[in-house]
Amino acid sequence: MDAAAALAERVRQAAARAERLRILGQGSKDFYGGAPCGAPLQTAALRGIVAYEPAELVLVARAGTPLVEIEAALAAQGQMLAFEPPRFSGGGTLGGAVAAGLSGPRRAYAGAVRDFVLGAQLIDGRGRLLRFGGRVLKNVAGFDVSRLLVGSLGTLGVLTEVTLKVLPRPAQELTLCYALSQSEALERMHRLAAGPWPLSASAWLDGRLAVRLSGPPAALRAARRELGGEELACAARFWDELRDQRLEFFARAQRLWRVSLPPTAPPLPTEAATIVEWGGALRWVADPAEAADLRAQARRHGGHASLFRAPDKAEGVFAPLPPALAELHRRLKTVFDPAGIFNPGRLYPDF
């Protein structure tokens, strides 16, 4: 019996007994979402790249494959995961990255995890192995379940295999820095984003804005000439540390809030240490005194705040859903997982 069939059998047993399962890759994101509970269901046996053809821009891998293994295979062909999933504690699996739906610094410029998911195989709550999407770049047959699974935190089923669109690595990268206040930095980000520059990341922290540009040498030469600023040495390391949350800021934060906003929203009215990413669309706030207010502020501006990492999560991790949407979520959960066995409480407390 192959590994996926064995897992499906295990799921069927659990479903029959209404036994709760906690889907586990490397556990690098155990801190994220509601506290994991239930019997561990390991995906480690689902390992390996199934197919990778650089000229197709398509990679298929089993869900338990370590991200580092996938990224190494891509790098060897001059390609990359353009959504730059975070590798917390240096680890993480493909399935975990897709289930968590977190994207890194390139997100605002290249797209999110879900934009690069082309297909997925899933064990649903009845223990059926289902296949959605495909191995081609365009496919609109059937409902787009593969992308619905992105960010569902394992509450809809066990991912066993994922197909991704991959992209060539840019020929060159260049990071420019500017000393600016947060509101000046936001304004600069908007101005740059409206121009012809091949932006691939932006971050403001400690009174400095860093902007990464990626592309052919001539485009970067022009940017270097026109945009001023100071070139950051060791830039690759900086962006990796931001992506994987290894910067000092993250180490110091006890209660880390992730605030997702329309990019043009003004700086949040907080004294707390803040990092701005994604051209203004993502704000990390460390230990705000006024946490309840942060959620209200985010909502007022058309965004939402989640309690990304904290020793206790009394405020709830994710912003509550309006009643009609919450009801629809429960119905969707029932479609995939009628016995409610997968990752209970990980996304919202009631399912």
Binding site: P54, A112, D115
Partner: protein, 496 residues
């Protein structure tokens, strides 16, 4: 487990009563019921199938959309959303017992925010109107289906439409931030947000491409991008299809993501050149149009590299556009492909399947063989960069046996796409056209899950019933029959 059925349901209420209720809820100008008024709505872009609806509702605001849905829900009447009716798979084909909910009067751009680079629009706004409104700010809406002067953004969302530029800039989904969706209950759901994500499940992803089966889009916020300052195109001619296919792979493998990468085969070139005078070589087996965009300075370098790659891959001839006028002329041929092919025969049937790029030459070879088998000609235009085929099968709709052969030809192409690891539709959707092909693409368990998803949104099966997802019963029948090619692929129309 009970078999989920999305097929027709008998209206619970007499049509007369349904119409009376609609009359009370809508202004007189927003309801069409006379046969001559219904006629223009009896089909969408898949003109082979025609059926006037019970009534056409043309709401002028969101409240009227909700009112129509509530009436349909209360009376058990099927309701079919329609944008501009350019869909090619019959997604908006009416049924005799259904209300056609036409969104073309909801055609306002509500807000365009140049700084946030987004546009909030009603569903009936034409695709091109958005880019036109954004142009003064140096912005554009990237997804550009060839039908962009006519098709609506609501239809684009329902089909997850693509265009020539989607290899680099993404499909509709990749350029969507937020949706307002009316449910069959007549309630509004807000999905996504003007930030880059939203809490909970990614329902924007689920709704996009759902062909009007889950809800009716009443408003959308779209992402705009800066228009590229400069774009240039290379025309490469090939003496053989294999080389052209390999050149596509070589360009991508060399690290380019062209803004457009289109292929046309010899019959398509022969159709287009006399019509559009684009300057295509008539003796080539295939041409590639490869467009790069960016800053002028960077483009010079890049074009030289791409040209070298194309030549190394066996291009006989390469021509790089030196002016915008020349670029426009080179594209004019590709853009005129449909009307040009339309001159060769009374009718053409536009198929839409995807394949891995490496299968390109093989599939085109198989299509050549099918031309003989079915006795019909086929010209191929192809979004080569993302493996999306558009074979145009020439036939005469006034000759029923030709219609049958054209459809069988089309269905066999789709079977080949699946066999090569591709999909039965890249961008035109399933509608009614590809219900049987869906049985080849998915197994019973997946189809059953699709039906369950549909029920989670629409427990009564009233939103565009019978489209996009075949019943398990239908697939069982198809499985028994489909082995023999040449069979008429639409043994049963949706049951009117």
């Amino acid at each position: 487990m009970s078999a989920p059925i999305l097929e027709a349901r008998r209206a619970a209420t007499a049509p007369r009563e349904v119409l009376a209720r609609l009359r009370r809820a809508l202004p007189a100008s927003a309801l069409l019921t006379a046969p001559e008024e219904l006629k223009p709505y009896e089909c969408d872009g898949l003109t082979l199938y025609r059926q006037p609806p019970l009534a056409v509702a043309l709401p002028g605001d969101e409240d009227q959309v909700l009112a129509v849905l509530r009436i349909c829900r209360a009376t058990g009447t099927p309701v079919i959303a329609r944008g501009a009716g350019t869909g090619l798979s019959g997604g908006a084909t009416p049924r005799a017992d259904a209300v056609l909910l036409v969104l073309s009067r909801l055609d306002r751009i509500l807000h365009l925010d140049p700084q946030a680079r987004s546009a909030r629009v009603q569903p009936g706004v034409r695709n091109l109107a958005i880019s036109e409104a954004a142009a003064p700010y140096g912005l554009t809406y990237a997804p550009d289906p060839s039908s962009q002067i006519a098709c609506s953004i609501g239809g684009n969302i329902a089909e997850n439409s693509g265009g020539v530029h989607c290899l680099k800039y993404g499909l509709t989904l990749h350029n969507l931030l937020r949706l307002r969706v009316a449910t069959i209950e007549g309630e509004i759901l807000e999905l996504g947000s003007e930030a880059l994500d939203a809490p909970g499940y990614d329902l924007v992803a689920l709704l996009t491409g759902s062909e009007g089966l889950l809800g009716v889009v009443t408003e959308a916020t779209l992402r705009l991008i800066p228009a590229a300052p400069c774009a240039r195109v290379v025309l490469a001619a090939f003496d053989d299809l294999k080389r052209a296919g390999a050149a596509v792979a070589a360009v991508i493998a060399a690290g380019f993501i062209p803004a457009g990468l289109e292929l046309m085969d010899r019959p398509a070139i022969a159709a287009v050149e006399p019509y559009a005078q684009a300057g295509y070589p008539l003796d080539a087996e295939a041409i590639l149009l490869c467009e790069l965009d960016g800053t002028a300075e960077a483009l010079d370098e890049e074009l030289a590299r791409v040209e070298a790659v194309l030549r190394a891959a066996g291009a006989r001839d390469c021509r790089v556009s030196r002016s915008d006028a020349e670029r426009a002329r080179l594209w004019a041929g590709r853009k005129a492909a449909f009307p040009a092919v339309g001159r060769l025969a009374p009718d053409y049937y536009c198929m839409d399947g995807t394949i891995p790029k490496k299968a390109l030459a093989a599939v085109l070879g198989e299509i050549r063989a099918m031309e003989k088998k079915y006795g019909l000609a086929c010209a191929n235009v192809f979004h080569a960069g993302d493996g999306n085929l558009h074979p145009l099968i020439l036939f005469d709709a006034n000759r029923p046996e030709q219609v049958a052969r054209a459809e069988a030809f089309g269905q066999e192409i789709l079977q080949r796409c699946v066999a090569h690891g591709g999909s039965i539709t890249g961008e035109h959707g399933v509608g009614i056209e590809k219900l049987d092909a869906m049985c080849a693409q998915f197994g019973a368990d997946e189809l059953e899950l699709f039906h369950a998803l549909k029920r989670a949104f629409d427990p009564y099966g009233l939103l565009n019933p019978g489209k996009a997802i075949p019943s398990l019963h239908r697939c069982a029948e198809f499985g028994r029959l489909h082995v023999h090619a040449g069979r008429l692929p639409h043994p049963e129309l949706p049951r009117f």
